[in-house]
Amino acid sequence: MAEELKRIGKTLGESLRERGVSRRGFLKFCSATASLMALPPAMAPAIAASLEKAKRPSVIWLSFQECTGCTESLTRSHSPSVENLIFDHISLDYHHTLQVASGAAAEAAREAAMHENEGQYIVVVDGSIPLGNPGYSAIAGISNLQMLEETVAGAAAVVAVGTCAAFGGLPQASPNPTGAVSVSDIVKDKPVVNVSGCPPIPTVITGVLAHFLTFGSLPELDSLGRPMVFFGKSIHDRCYRRPFYDKGLFAETFDDEGARKGWCLYRLGCKGPMTYNACATTKWNQGASWPVESGHGCLGCSEPNFWDAGGFYNALSIPDSDITRQAAYVAGAGVALGAAAGAINRNKQSKAASAHETVTIDDLDKQS
């Protein structure tokens, strides 16, 4: 524990070299980060210089109602890679899955990190926070809500990793039994960066941290609090299957000719047009592939409420209610009401006919 705390003093560069990471490997990471953040390549040395000098900030990672998929994504996918090293070399002071300590020692590490780095540390959250019974999710007897409020109080910034933390995610899906809410529903007085996705792209998580280390500030965010550099364009806009959409060529089933020819998956429910994420460019598993490339439509996992946004296999434009059955009832009601309106009109018509007073030539002048 004490050893850990001492390491905070070292710069990232020192720490990297100590770990045997080559300058070349480091620069490669820096150019990749620059391009990922849509910065000119000339920025790579600047990033490198900043990162070299950066003091490794303390990071407290809180896991609430989550599945650990976000951590899995982060640790596994590009391992071993410079990203992992970055994580080695931020001071990850608290993380259920990764830390060695447990029980009271673990909680002590969190409190120590908060105390030592008051106002400096970054809180990363994955998972949503239940506002129902606090017992739905608690750590060391502390409810998620209490732990979040307590930990965030002295933080410099909060990063909500994954859709659960960013927007409520699966726990919040209808009927939301735990009363789950997102981090930004609770944290109002600190900057919150949402790195949504189920799970988020690992390089996007590290990219955000790199940005913070490089510029000392949070990246530009979209209206949902997501970094513009990664979430600025929709999947559809950057999808390699887009030309098929524009030509009106669609796969109708997962094994038809269109599917084999790689046509657009819109009709199979692809949510690409409404989903903002970097999958189409960064791809997954060391750039091997991504969902649309593997033949399945985008689920829209980086968007709020994606679980409740209609079926995954319904085309985007389709309303989610059971319209057909509803329409039959509605039509029945319409016919009944229409018949009533018609009867009223008929009645008016025949009333007028019986109220008719014969017009004679003595009635042609206006009554005066």
Binding site: Y266, A309, S317, P319, A327, V330, A341
Partner: protein
């Protein structure tokens, strides 16, 4: 996204209910009025003549075409353009397929895009004509401009959505769907009903003339 979910969910349901019930009420309140039997000896049959007029009125009478070419040509362009974009754009077909179970092939979306652009321009020209042509300007009231607006908005928002001219996409898609819902809600209560009642109107016209031996 919440907005999109609302317009796609409850919003659409409300609009559909108003649209369907409204149209049925309007159609029945017209048809149930009926007409008295005609005792005059017919010279021709009503049915065939009515059906013929129903079809032939789709083409303008020659003299009228010469006298109002803009109204006729503009009317054709935007009606046809509107129906092409409404019924041949793939996402729309998907919607119809999901709601009614009917499906047909669509056409290329960049073609739809061009048609939509032409339709939008024509609708603007039609509005200009309504504001400037002495007869149309004289006849037009708030309802005429309201019906123009609710017809124009789906075209405009659809175009913006297709080109992603408003960010984020769920917002503009939601606006597009909302504008269609507006159209659906306004539809039964305004002269937009002509889209259905023209069938009766033409038929009655043709039938009444056909009875007298004239193909109207």
């Amino acid at each position: 996204m919440d907005f999109l979910l609302w317009v796609r969910g409850p919003g659409f349901d409300i609009a559909l209910v108003v649209f369907l019930i409204g149209i049925l009420i309007r159609l029945l309140e017209v048809l149930i009025l009926g007409r008295k039997p005609d005792h005059s000896e017919p010279r021709g049959a009503e049915l065939g003549a009515g059906l013929r007029t129903l079809m032939t009125r789709t083409l303008p009478e020659q003299g009228s075409f010469k006298r109002s070419p803009f109204t006729v040509v503009g009317g054709y362009i935007w009606h046809i353009g509107f129906f092409i974009t409404l019924f041949l754009f793939v996402p729309h077909i998907e919607l119809i397929n999901a709601t009614l179970g009917l499906s047909w092939p669509g056409i290329a979306s960049n073609l739809i895009d061009a048609v939509a652009a032409v339709t939008i321009v024509t609708l603007l020209a039609m509005l200009f004509s309504r504001l400037s042509h002495p007869v149309k300007q004289f006849l037009s009231g708030p309802e005429d401009y309201l019906t123009w607006l609710v017809t124009f908005l789906p075209m405009l928002t659809g175009y913006l959505a297709y080109h992603r001219m408003i960010d984020p996409y769920p917002l503009v898609l939601g606006l597009h769907i909302l504008s269609v819902e507006l159209l659906m809600v306004v539809f039964p209560f305004t002269k937009l009903m002509h889209a259905f009642t023209f069938i009766f109107a033409r038929w009655y016209n043709g039938a009444m003339a056909g009875r007298r031996g004239v193909q109207s």
